[in-house]
Symmetry: C2
Subunit: 357 residues, 2 copies
Amino acid sequence: MTTKIDITLSETKKEKPNVDQLEFGRVFTDHMFVMDYSATKGWYDPRIVPYGPISLSPSTMAFHYGQTVFEGLKAYRTKDDKVLLFRPNKNIERLNLSNDRLCIPQIDEELVIEALKQLVSIDKEWIPTAEGTSLYIRPFIIPTEYYLGVAPSKHYRFMIILSPVGSYYKEGIHPVKIFVENEYVRAVAGGTGTAKTGGNYASSLKAQDEAEKRGYSQVLWLDGLEKKYVEEVGSMNVFFKINGEVVTPALNGSILEGVTRNSIIHLLKHWGVPVSERRLSMEDLYKAYKEGQLEEAFGTGTAAVISPIGELFYNEERMVINNGETGDISMKLYDTLTGIQTGALEDIFNWVVNVNE
Amino acid sequence: MTTKIDITLSETKKEKPNVDQLEFGRVFTDHMFVMDYSATKGWYDPRIVPYGPISLSPSTMAFHYGQTVFEGLKAYRTKDDKVLLFRPNKNIERLNLSNDRLCIPQIDEELVIEALKQLVSIDKEWIPTAEGTSLYIRPFIIPTEYYLGVAPSKHYRFMIILSPVGSYYKEGIHPVKIFVENEYVRAVAGGTGTAKTGGNYASSLKAQDEAEKRGYSQVLWLDGLEKKYVEEVGSMNVFFKINGEVVTPALNGSILEGVTRNSIIHLLKHWGVPVSERRLSMEDLYKAYKEGQLEEAFGTGTAAVISPIGELFYNEERMVINNGETGDISMKLYDTLTGIQTGALEDIFNWVVNVNE
Ligand SMILES: Cc1ncc(COP(=O)(O)O)c(C=O)c1O
Ligand SMILES: Cc1ncc(COP(=O)(O)O)c(C=O)c1O
């Protein structure tokens, strides 16, 4: 560590929410990490300060041209009061990939990991300990130049905020129904699909909204060119077990490379389960379904870890998968990943980072 | 008018910039228009207040998921001190189209036009009068709910800010060199290309940056599916004069419908110049060029009005158009449109709105 992080502790502590009433992303801890960028100074003034509002001119570029990036990861508090992060280096690497796509200057990954650790340590009391709960960590960057021209901003603010979150599965892990989207497009190669930038999520809202109105909880995105090939599900990567093999769409320039996705591929290989990353058409998936070979389907991401898919609505037809129940591989992946993340299982791949070490 | 706009005038007046030093989008006037939205109240509290910063929680959705929309139009001050807006209803209609795509509640178009007029009247002294100068008007909407979930915000803020701008063409209208983009994609049908939302501009920065490094001032976007068909140029629509006919890409679900584009089509028809909106391939354009039939090319948008294209760089070849000079139709369109906008020419189509009438 060469750059020192300046720390100003909050004089008052907010009341912590009741763990039963925790909703995702509504309540924030006592502190936040902030760092600014200017063309002349580079990233400067890394600091931990009391959580609070920021004041910006209405002409701040953040409000106009969407040049924003973000990340999402979690911290867990173990039975013996250790605080663990899951592969934080992967998220910070991805943040720099997103920065590159969005013309935002690269951040010092080591410094940001150090900031993550210090911030989470300081607000450690906020990490809920009940089964399935965690502390959601949101690093993000916004352009802060006061200028209405369409050009990369010359000033940025990097922030990390923390939010205690309840269990994603209040009544145990259970499958969701997914609408196969055939009108709206999430991303195409040459666009911003491989980056975690606001515009990708903004453009998904309408499809999500229409799927919900039809009673589906998320959409399955197809490729934007031919609307034939499977890409992602909602804001998760997607896997299918077809005739004993686990298949996920290959990284093709429009899919976000999930940390969970990457971890699952490692785990499956380690277990000797056949796994392949390849182009997968909806037509082939439907054929496998008709032939009784579509054995499981699930989304993967930081929020839910594993989200089993019980039904796909495709071409006006309901494709019910594994009787609408959670499959064995889905369950085993969920138990293993959450076990490693919370320190209950052995960390065979060295994925877990203890914030006090 | 049923809803009244509340007005609080600024107690101090800022110093106005020297008209020779005006840069686009850097300096703002003394007042702004603000209106808020909540699910229970709808849009409420429309008000004109002193221009100043806004304070937002770091968890404000505007910083995370890009659910933003904006518009851009201009006000002109005539020799006899009238203040004119150019087709403001078109911009406000388009804002509602953008709102629809981004799941933002519709605004009352009449109220917003009224707000535009009142705000511009109050800050009328800020409108420069020198040739080619104007007041740039930026209406925009940001999501203001404090929430990290990917869902439409339940709160919004609508704002209008004003910026005096200098002449786009300091040394007279002159052609630019354009790089035909074959890697990055602006938008595809099913995406957000028809809306004025931040993500479209964020995703364009990288292509723009790379074009500039090669000495080109903007990129010509091709369709995202086959990268064959012409779409837009930078953040302008694009027209070509081919063998006497003026051609512009048809609205296909990924192109923004420019107010300038629409006005030009009207003018050309009125003049009896053949004009067609159709799919136009780069291959056909190149063929016309080789056969000496590509007579003019120009971009169109609020900022530059007409931006003649002197050169296209395509397939490692420089296509020089009209000897790199401004063509007759480009010049006539520029003179006519700016003439109507500034009140110097007769407003034959009833496009101009006097803010005091
Ligand atoms: C679009 C998209 N795809 C996939 C993922 C899954 O990524 P990860 O496993 O890193 O959370 C996310 C969520 O982060 C996402 O936003
Ligand atoms: C992407 C894009 N295309 C075209 C235009 C031209 O539209 P208008 O003529 O309404 O300014 C703009 C600018 O507003 C734009 O941002």
